[in-house]
Structure formats: C-alpha cells, structure tokens
C-alpha cells in the first residue's frame, strides 16, 4: 500500500478514462468493508498482438462486453505531410511506400498521379499498364492478407502462414521489376522505375494461375468453416447511411451496399479499358466485409490478366520530365482505389521545386473512425474481429 500512498493525485484530472484509474486507487484506501463494484478498464496496445500495428485503445468492460472505448492513435506518426514540404516532388516518392506498406504499389501510384496531373505530364502506355499490373497484384495479395489475418485473430493461425507463400512469390516478381521486396518505390513521376524483364509476364501468369487454384482452399479453410462463420455473420453491422456518414471507403463501404469504387466512379489511368465488376453486398457485417475482399481479389486477378494481354511495347518513362519537377502554381486532388479504400493526395504547388502542401486522405483513417463508433455493446472477442475486418493500416492512419 505504500506505493499507493505515495502517489499524489494531480489537482485537475483530464476528462478521460484514465481518470477512473485514479478513482480506483482512491477507492482502495477506503475501509475494508466498503464494497465497490466498477467496470474493468482495460488497455489494449499499442503493442498488442492484434492491433495491426500500433493502435491503442482504452476500453471499459462489463464482463466480456465493451461499454466504452477511447482510441489513441499517433504512435506511428512520422510527419510525412511535413516531410513532403521539405523535399522535392520526386524525393517524396519513397515515403509513400511507408504509409500503407501492405499495398505500397498503390500508394506510390496515387502520389505520382497527383504530381503528373499537377505538372501536366502524360504517362506512356506501357508504364500505365505496368502500374496497373503491379497495383492490382498488390491489391490482391493485400486483400488475401486481410482475409487470412482475420483467421489469425479468430485463432486459426495456419491460413496466415499459407499467405506468406503467395506473398513471397509475388515479392519475387516485384523484386524483378522494382528491385525491392517491401518498399518498392516503383512509381516515378511520369512512369515507372523499371521495365519488366524477359519472361516476367509469363511468370505473372503462372503466379495468377497458382493463386487462383489455391483460392479454393483458402475459401474452404475460413469461409467454409462453421466456427468462422459463426464468429463473422451478423457481427458489427453497419448501415449504408452510417457508412457514408462516417466516411468509410473501400470494401467496407461496398459491403454495406454502396456502389462506390474510384476505379468505376472516377475512372483513372487505363481502367475503362478493362472488363471487371465491383462486388457489392448489403448486409454490412463482418462476414460481408471480408467476403467483398475475397471477391475483389479475383477481380484484380482478372484485370491483371487483361492487362497482360493488352500491354504494348514502348517507353516506360514520359519524355522531357525534368530531374527537378517544378509544377506550375495551383492545386490538385488525385485519388485511387487503394486496397483499403479511396486514397487521395491533395497537393498545393507554389511553383517551386518543393510542394507547398501535401495532404494525404488515407482510407484507413476513415475506416478507423467507423470502428470506434461500432464497438460499444459488443463482445471483446468480436471487437477484435471487427477491427480486423476494417483492417486499418497504422502507417497510413498516422502518416
């Protein structure tokens, strides 16, 4: 008890759940016959096995049910937006990979697209196709990760290890074109950094073929499992209106029945040339959110196959792109459909070699907001699952 007595209470406590911790300590010093019943405050994270990075949440629990949540973000804040203001346009490219590191290809692409739009650079055909192939493959593997990771959260460890096999094969392919295995830095302002080596397209075809044939097994392993369905169906339901109000994008929005995919709603790059569908569901529960990802993954593979058929020869970098890009003064917003939702870059240029302001609209951030509003009155185990289906990437949330 000596430690408790030493602890001095501050004069004014912040209005947060942390306050209650002090209350509990205070209650301990009361006479022994005072019985106090209080909800248990539990702290999750920032280094917790299932927080997808460094999310921290302080939760009140009534038995196994969450009654209140206070999220704490910012543990991975690296000032990327400020860093962007102090580098040239091209120098910021590697930083984009470190935001949503599970779909780094799409991040770089979004940034490159914004700068190209601002500077009026026309990207050659072949580079666009390479971006689509790399981006869609990355989306496919990122969706598969989210799917298998939800298995991990539900206690099924094996699918996640299977995923590593697919991922490693894909990383081998990416290594051939980009030279890196995690932070690819593949997109360039006006093109891509490397052309596909000989036989690369065939290897991509083989990869797609094996992934397709394995998908059946992945499906059976989790979606086909009674326990997994029981854990996912009807849990964490969010309506379409609510989803729009909270700013959810991506597969989580489409699971609630809103047909919004940036690739269709505001076609960019060469997407109008491809024949693909945007899967939609209407229940908006955990199961649907995950199932949307599984269907989208297959559409991604379809797009890559079409792109492989259509890809023309030609340069991979636009001609006449200066080493130091100085876009004319102005502002631009460019967005892509990242694997987690609509990822937007808003860039303001003052005509100098450095951007005046770069604002990143990260899909994970909006999705995380929705998560915190849905937690209350759910089982703790379900909260973890809901978190998994929203799958925020904390490199992107904190930036």
């Amino acid at each position: 008890m000596s430690k408790l007595e030493e602890q001095k209470l501050p004069d004014k406590l912040p209005d947060s759940l942390l306050e209650r911790e002090f209350e509990i300590e205070e209650l301990k010093s009361r006479p022994e016959d005072t019985i106090v019943s209080q909800e248990l405050t539990i702290n999750i994270g920032p280094h917790h096995p299932s927080t997808h990075g460094v999310f921290r949440a302080i939760m009140d629990m009534d038995g196994e049910i969450i009654t209140r949540i206070e999220p704490v973000i910012g543990h991975l804040h690296r000032c990327f937006e400020k860093i962007a203001e102090n580098r040239s346009y091209a120098q910021f490219m590697p930083f984009t990979d470190r935001m949503d590191y599970t779909s780094a290809m799409l991040n770089g692409w979004a940034y490159a697209m914004a700068v190209e739009k601002l500077a009026g650079i026309q990207v050659p055909e072949r580079a666009e196709y390479l971006r689509v192939i790399a981006g869609e493959l990355n989306r496919a593997i990122s969706h598969l990760m989210t799917y298998t990771f939800s298995g991990l959260e539900a206690g099924a460890v094996t699918p996640f290890f299977w995923w590593f096999e697919e991922r490693d094969k894909l990383l081998d392919l990416f290594e051939e074109i980009a030279g890196a295995r995690m932070t690819f830095n593949y997109a360039r302002i006006g093109g891509v950094s490397g052309d596909a080596p000989d036989g690369w397209f065939d290897r991509v075809r083989d990869f797609i073929k094996t992934l397709r044939s394995n998908l059946d097994e992945y499906y059976k392993l989790l979606f086909g499992n009674y326990i997994f369905k029981k854990r996912m169906k009807g849990i964490g339901v969010i309506s379409a209106e609510e989803a729009i109000r909270l700013g959810i994008t991506g597969p989580c929005l489409r699971a609630s029945g809103v047909n919004y995919d940036v690739r269709k709603a505001d076609p960019y790059s060469i997407y109008p040339r491809f024949d693909f569908e945007v899967p939609i569901s209407y229940k908006g529960d955990n199961y649907d959110r995950m199932y949307m990802r599984f269907l989208e993954l297959q559409q991604s593979l379809r797009i890559v196959e079409q792109a492989l058929d259509q890809i023309p020869d030609g340069p991979i970098m636009a001609e006449g792109v200066p080493r130091l890009v100085c876009p004319p003064p102005g502002e631009v917003y460019a967005h892509v459909e990242s694997s987690r939702g609509a990822l937007g870059y808003y860039i303001v240029s003052d005509g100098s070699p450095k951007p005046y302001r770069v604002k990143i609209q990260a899909p994970s951030f909006g999705n995380l907001q929705a998560f915190t509003s849905m937690v209350v009155n759910n089982y703790f185990a379900d909260v973890i699952m809901i978190f998994g289906t929203f799958d925020p990437c904390f490199g992107e949330v904190d930036r």
Partner: protein, 335 residues
C-alpha cells in the same frame, strides 16, 4: 518386479520401517513417471512443432540436434537461464504457487492411468472418477495465476478458463456414464479388458461429447479462450516467463498426454492389438499419439469460438447429448 510379499520380507529382515519402504516406492514411481513424462513432453513438443509446421508450409525446428529434435533442450536451457521476472504488484505466494498447482494436478492425474497390462502406478477401483476429478484441480492453478499476477488480461483470461473448464467438466463426466454402464466397473484396467469391441463403436455419441469436452478441458483451439493471444495476449500466464512459464508449458503437455491416454484407454481399446502381449504398450502409445495428432491437427486448423458460444455449446449441445447417450445406452442395455 518384486512382489509385495518379498518386499515385506525384505523390509522386515533389514529393520526398515514400513512407511520408509512405502515412501521409497512412491518416490521411485514418481520419478519414473516424471522421467516418462519428460520424455513424452519432448516428443510432444517436437511433434507439435513439426505438425504445425507441416500444416503451415514451414520446416519447423531443423538446427538443434538431428532434424531439430533437440530444440526443446535448447528451449529448456533458455527457460532456466532466463531472468525470473516477478511483477512488482503480484501477490508473491499465489503467483509462485500457481504453476506448481497446475503441474501437480496434471501429474497426479497420471497415477491411475495404465500404460500397459499391469503397468500402472495405482490401479484404483474408482480410477475413472479419480482421473476426472484430480486434474480438474488445475483450474485452481489457473485462477491463482490470474489473480496472483494482478494483470487484467490474466484475470479475465483466468475467469474465462475457469468458467469453461468447469462447464465442460459436466458433459465430459456424463459422457462416460455409458462406458461405466457397459463395463460395469470404474477400474481403468478392467475397462480396457472389457473392450472386445472398442467402446468408440459402442458409444459413438459418448465419444464425440467426450472428445469435444476434452479439447475444451485442454484449452486448445477451438477452445483456447483462456490464452486467446489475439484478445488477452496470453491469458492467465501473461505475466509468467522463464521456468515459471515452463511449468505451465510442461503441465499443458502432460495433461494433453493424459487426456489422449484416457481417450485411448476408454474408447480405443487401450493396449489391445495384434501380436504378443509385450507389444501392448507399443499399441497403446501408437493410439495415444494418434489421438494427440488429431488434437494438434484440429488446433492448427480451426478458429476459436467466442466465450458465449463456448458456453452455449457446453450447456445446450454437449450436455443434452451426453444425457441422451445415457438414455439410449440404458434402453439398449435393458432390451
């Protein structure tokens, strides 16, 4: 082996008091069991690692010893040499005693389990009740670990474990009533002797209930709520490290072995198998490791239930099934 009469004579002629003789024999049996369990522990951990690795497209341990088989020795060395981390807010005695209670409960459960014809420490006439009752004391260890470490994850995890283990104790015990009715005895060796036809064929429903309840008792996926790593980090042993954790680990595999042995003895014909009697323990071990393999297979394939679903399954599905099993067995026996 010496018969008890010879031992008595030996004790009398050398002036050794009877209690000393008893204590010596008990210590000898305990040591033998401990050695056997230590060996079994090594085999099981190696097997678990290799089985999970096989299911997960990995190699598992490959470096220490031939094909990584001595990995556990390296782990044990690590456990022993690790700093004994003791949380400052923990209740000292409860925290320290919890692994011992877990270990002792699991170890005592082995006393009545036969490893072969006559190969049993104490062939009790109520062996079945003993083997169901004594390992259940382990739940006290779980609660002690949770409350002793004064960690909220640990407390919640231990409460879950206690609720689950106590709930599944009921259908697990009831599922064996059918066997007691058929065999007419609770002595485990007599139950094995009575299995002309394996009881798994006579008691399929009983086996199903027993097997599922066993999984829950062992806290293995899909019932690993006590240590659900994605929720309560490590459940009741979150604060334990080093050799203290090692004890939990050892106790876990010991109860796994005991449960598999019990399953083999009760349902899979025990040591019955073709060939001479000398092969009986071999047959038993094959069956035991077969059961262990199935348990591991399930563990590394299935997701886990939610706590309310676990309770529902225990009380609303398994318990009625066990009761129906008793009813059906009774009707068939009386007809």
């Amino acid at each position: 082996m010496l018969s008890s009469a010879e031992l008595l004579n030996f004790a009398n002629s050398h002036g050794i008091p009877l209690w000393a003789m008893d204590a010596f024999i008990a210590a000898l049996i305990a040591l033998g069991l401990f050695a056997a369990m230590g060996l079994g522990f090594m085999v099981q951990v190696y097997m678990e690692r290799k089985v999970s690795a096989g299911l997960q497209l990995r190699y598992g341990p490959i470096y220490v010893g031939p094909k990584g088989s001595l990995q556990l020795v390296a782990d044990a060395l690590k456990f022993i040499t690790k700093e004994d981390v003791f949380p400052s807010s923990a209740e000292p005695w409860i925290f320290r005693l919890a692994p011992v209670v877990m270990f002792a409960a699991a170890f005592l459960g082995l006393l009545v389990l036969p490893f072969g014809p006559g190969l049993v420490a104490k062939d009790l006439n109520v062996g079945l009740i003993y083997v169901l009752a004594i390992p259940s004391i382990g739940v006290a260890g779980v609660i002690m670990a949770g409350f002793g470490s004064k960690n909220r994850y640990a407390i919640l995890g231990s409460l879950r474990a206690a609720a689950q283990m106590i709930s599944y104790e009921v259908p697990r015990s009831l599922s064996l009533i059918g066997i007691i009715m058929i065999a007419g005895t609770m002595r485990l060796s007599s139950i094995v002797d009575g299995q002309g036809i394996w009881y798994i064929f006579l008691q399929p429903l009983g086996f199903l209930v027993f097997f599922v309840a066993t999984m829950a008792e062992l806290n293995r996926t899909p019932f690993d709520l006590a240590e659900s790593e994605s929720e309560y980090v490590n459940g009741y042993h979150t604060e334990y490290s080093g050799m203290r954790f090692g004890f939990f680990f050892f106790a876990e595999y010991m109860s796994l072995f005991a449960a598999a042995l019990l399953t083999a003895v009760l349902f899979l014909g025990g040591w019955h198998g073709p060939g001479p009697v000398i092969l009986a323990p071999v047959w038993l071990l094959i069956k035991v490791f077969g059961v262990i393999y199935v348990l591991m297979w399930v563990r590394w394939t299935f997701p886990r239930f939610r706590i309310d679903q676990v309770m529902d399954l225990g009380w609303k599905v398994l318990l009625p099934m066990a009761l129906v099993n008793i009813l059906v067995t009774g009707i068939i026996m009386s007809v």
